[in-house]
């Protein structure tokens, strides 16, 4: 079942300028569509400035889309009334990248975890207490943690608190925005395993935002690769990683440094740097860096090519089958 669907989503930001006139427009997200099935882990991957974090904010209703729609359970978020929004907030929670910034330093862990619960009702004290201790236990923290302040924890433990808070309302979907990249290497595996465990236990759907391709390959079931506000390739993770078809996906995969002294990333896989999102290249936005660019890439925006039942890419060089 489709839990979350994004249709032709656009988010433009005005930059600079005064009250009436903007100096320029950044097309952070420029016509992205994808669907997340219930119980799966869908990953959005790409380099900085590709728009993946903006999509997360749009899905979390922290920003309003410029155009396009987001459907949850078949219902358009834009059409929800305030009661509908409240219900949606119960279902969709999030874990952010930096556990140092995501917990209010002045509040105790108990208050932090109880906040979403209290925003949706007035449970009895004992009930609330029990729920807080329950989710602390799920994330592997002792009951005593509830009475401490965030600064009394290490980074990994703070991220556990953030996960506990996200679980407090028993949501169906959690948006994970770079959930481990701020953590120490030896802690990352603990948190990833924990996220995998709770997904299984509570039948959660994950939308994960990441730049680390190895993490995405390990963790997700389907993936969408983004470049400068567009999705360029999407499909089952195993297939996209084994047979990347878009030149950008190929270059990205080839560039990842591997823990193998005899592996050398090819330097010519990709040229130059990402163009400015304020003045993106014409045609295919990747063409100035693409080793296979043709004249048509400069003039025409490439449409989607189906490369199999579920695998597709947006590139002039590929033929639909």
């Amino acid at each position: 079942m489709r839990l979350l669907e994004v249709r032709d989503l656009k988010k433009y930001f005005r930059v600079g300028g005064g009250l009436l006139r903007a100096a320029g427009t950044v097309k952070a997200v420029d016509g992205v569509s994808f669907a997340v099935e219930e119980g799966e882990t869908f990953a959005l991957v790409g380099e900085s400035g590709c728009g993946k974090t903006t999509i997360a904010k749009l899905v979390l209703m922290l920003e309003r889309p410029t155009a396009g729609s987001i459907l949850f359970n078949g219902e358009d978020l834009a059409s929800l009334g305030s009661a509908g929004v409240k219900a949606y907030r119960r279902e969709v929670q999030t874990v952010f990248q930096d556990p140092y910034a995501s917990l209010n330093p002045r509040l105790r862990v108990r208050t932090i975890i109880a906040e979403p619960i209290l925003a949706h009702g007035r449970p009895e004290r004992a009930e609330l207490r029990q729920r807080v201790e329950e989710v602390l236990d799920v994330v592997g923290l002792p009951k005593t943690a509830a009475d401490l302040f965030p600064h009394e924890f290490s980074g990994g433990q703070r991220q556990r608190v953030a996960i506990a808070r996200a679980l407090a309302l028993n949501p169906r979907c959690i948006v994970l925005d770079e959930p481990i990249s701020a953590l120490d290497v030896s802690i990352r595996a603990q948190i990833l395993n924990l996220l995998a465990d709770i997904q299984e236990r509570f039948r959660l759907t994950y939308l994960i935002i990441a730049h680390d391709l190895a993490l995405v390959e390990h963790f997700s079931t389907r993936v969408g690769v983004m470049y400068l506000g567009n999705m360029v390739e999407a499909g089952p993770t195993s297939e996209v990683f084994a047979h990347p078809r878009h030149p950008y996906t190929q270059a990205l995969l080839a560039s990842v440094p591997r823990p193998d002294p005899d592996h050398r990333a090819p330097v010519d896989a990709i040229r130059g740097e990402i163009a400015s999102a304020m003045a993106p290249p014409s045609g295919c936005k990747f063409h100035p860096r693409c080793p296979h660019a043709r004249p048509v890439c400069n003039t025409e925006f490439p449409g989607w090519r189906d490369l199999g039942a579920t695998h597709s890419a947006a590139c002039h060089l590929l033929e639909s089958n």
Binding site: L62, R90, T94, P116
Partner: protein, 266 residues
Amino acid sequence: MVILALVVIAAAFGENVAPHDPNGLNLAAAFRPPVWEPKGEWAYLLGTDNLGRDILSRIIAGARVSLVSALYAIVFAGAIGGLIGMISGYFGGVVDAIIMRLVDIQMSIPALALALVIAAVFGADFDTVVIVIIVTYWTWYARIVRGEILSLKERDYVALAKVAGCGTATIFFRHLLPNIMNTLLVLATLQVGQVIIFEASLSFLGLGIQAPDVSWGLMLSDARNYITNAWWAITMPGIAIMITCLSANMIGDWLRDTFDPKRRQL
């Protein structure tokens, strides 16, 4: 700190501490110099003015007016300015643009000219002083709080509170207000000095406190005519103003340092 505490005590228990009635005329004892001068007397520690009123007693009485007006003004200016700043910073967009233009306009009107107008309309008294000070100083709070909120509202935990389903009021009072309290407090303390001086200048110009109430500014104004033959009458309240402002500023600096987490480390 000790000095400010003394001033506060003087303001609170003025009648009981003062050696003389601040308005008690005693023409026979007019223009007595302070005690350490050749003709000084222990009865009038800091001397007397043209009507023989004891300067020390008047300073003590004036402390109350000065402090109370400063306190009133700062609390109201802080609350009004702070709230407006929070709204402006949090909601942004058109609301923010309008409020900030208002602030700009307010800041470009000379405070004394404004005081003249208000005094002309409402008459010069204690309330006028407080109103003028509030109208002049709220913009400071609005600006600074707005700046703080602009950065605070981008914090992850504020975004998370929204995702959790918290209302605007919860976000304001749980996540934003506690984080700007320090700034407000520090700014308020630093302004005590400024406001006292402002009150003194208003009263000096005759736009503020009127006799028989006593204020430091009024004392300066009264003593101005006799500056050549009774220097103490104008100097003593001046020194009182200076010392009070200085100690208020020092406390403000100290508060800022203690609240700044970066300086608390090591």
